[in-house]
């Protein structure tokens, strides 16, 4: 039985165990379930912040991303740990990256919108690569002839790039249209 009053350390231990063993990032709502309604959101946030700083000197760090919180290895271990996996991580082509960037910054966009910006036909495999990675999906159809699919980036995309929201993407250089000397 869970006691009425648990020490802060006990509460943090519960969160730590849950976060470390979860295969997916844990959202606040999910973590609230751990305490069967006896936890305020604000308290939970505070506990998570404390837990995060508890791990400051460790090899893992607690981070908040789009779909919740997760533990991950500190980035300085990336190179060394990479030696464990025989396969090199995928390297995306410029076409794939530019398509991804257009979807990320201009979403929701159709294939036609992407072609308009890049000036070339969009290769179907590029979109498929991104869909299979779980980074983009179809969120609807534009109500024009042909009803083209509208693509947007997913939470998974933000998670994989360690971001909480699209606002955290690198800023896009604003088009200096006003400065045009015409």
């Amino acid at each position: 039985m869970m006691q009425e009053t648990q020490s802060i350390q006990q509460l943090k231990n519960i969160l730590e165990a849950a976060l470390l063993t979860s295969s997916q990032p844990l959202a606040l709502e999910e973590m609230l379930r751990l305490f069967e309604g006896k936890m305020e959101r604000a308290t939970l946030r505070m506990l998570l912040d404390e837990l995060k700083s508890d791990w400051n000197e460790r090899t893992l760090e607690l981070v908040q991303i789009a779909s919740g919180w997760r533990f991950q290895a500190r980035i300085e271990y990336a190179e060394v740990l990479g030696r464990l996996s025989p396969e090199k991580p995928p390297k995306y082509s410029r076409a794939t990256l530019e398509t991804l960037a257009i979807i990320a910054y201009k979403q929701p966009v159709t294939r036609g919108d992407i072609e308009e910006i890049r000036g070339v036909a969009v290769n179907q495999t590029v979109l498929r690569t991104l869909i299979e990675r779980g980074w983009i999906d179809v969120v609807g159809h534009r109500d024009v002839p042909g009803r083209p699919s509208l693509f947007a980036t997913t939470k998974n995309f933000l998670d994989d790039l360690n971001l909480r929201s699209l606002q955290e993407l690198p800023p896009i250089d604003n088009l200096p249209q006003q400065e045009m000397e015409i």
Binding site: A78, G119, D160, D173, E179
Partner: protein, 260 residues
């Protein structure tokens, strides 16, 4: 803005850098083409390489340089050239509009180059930001998500069964068994493949049949089912074509060979 480094060989000699002038040997063109992500990319390259002011493009020079690329491209890699040709048309249109005298009141707002410049800048912004996105740490590349192993040992909750439940279950088994008692499946003499031939033969004589004409109601349900299976099989094997103009409208069956 230079395109990515290319490692390629031409006549066995490694090509270390893009040539300084715009001439590209046709054999090497395919290699260079792959370095550009389309006409906008190529234009940007030409503009940046010659240190041209993107906001004050000399259309004649740019168009000429661009066209010399496209001409060679046209010969070498046609399917790629389509996008590039569209851009040539746009460049020439802009040039021609700039040659035409314009009404004074329009001069301020309507530079024919404005749309091209807007697209070039937009594409350049995307191109740069795509590189920035790629530089972000990524899960599976620089980021490794921690996961400790935890085996959920759920307590198995066995359902409670009352005597009454067993009785109800037993009765329903008996009830269902009744349905099967008289249902003897005997090997039917009608073969599907035989009926496939029957249908094909009729189609050869009568050309096209309406879906319902295939079936002769008086011959009984089993026969009709066999006809239906035969028809499906024919369609699957591509021996007949079934067409329907609209939902709920009559379906027509036709032998494929007759249509050929």
């Amino acid at each position: 803005m230079l395109p990515p480094v290319i490692s390629a060989r031409l006549h066995g000699e490694p090509i270390a850098s893009l040539p300084q002038d715009l001439y590209i040997p046709p054999e090497a063109l395919e290699v260079y083409l792959d370095a550009f992500e389309g006409p906008l990319d190529l234009l940007l390259y030409l503009i940046r390489k010659h240190n041209l002011d993107i906001l004050d493009i000399r259309m004649a020079d740019l168009t000429q340089q661009y066209m010399s690329y496209v001409d060679k491209m046209h010969a070498a890699k046609l399917e790629l050239a389509a996008d590039y040709l569209l851009m040539s048309a746009m460049l020439i249109e802009i040039k021609s509009r700039m040659l035409l005298p314009r009404p004074v009141e329009l001069e301020q707002e309507d530079d024919p180059r404005a749309e091209l410049v807007r697209r070039l800048l937009e594409y350049e912004a995307i191109k740069l930001v795509a590189q920035k996105i790629d530089a972000l740490p990524q899960v599976g590349r620089e980021l490794l998500v921690a996961q400790a192993c935890f085996e959920h040992v759920a307590k198995v909750q066995l359902p409670i069964v009352e005597m009454e439940d067993l009785l109800v279950a037993w009765r329903s088994v008996l009830e269902r068994a009744k349905h099967y008692t008289h249902h003897h499946i005997s090997r039917e003499q009608l073969s599907v493949r035989e009926h496939m031939s029957l249908i094909l033969r009729r189609l050869q004589q009568e050309g096209m049949l309406e879906f319902t004409q295939i079936f002769v109601i008086s011959e009984g349900v089993q026969k009709m089912v066999t006809y239906f299976l035969a028809l499906l099989e024919l369609a699957r094997e591509g021996l007949v074509k079934m067409t329907q103009q609209a939902a709920y409208s009559p379906i027509y069956v036709q032998a494929s060979e007759l249509m050929a």
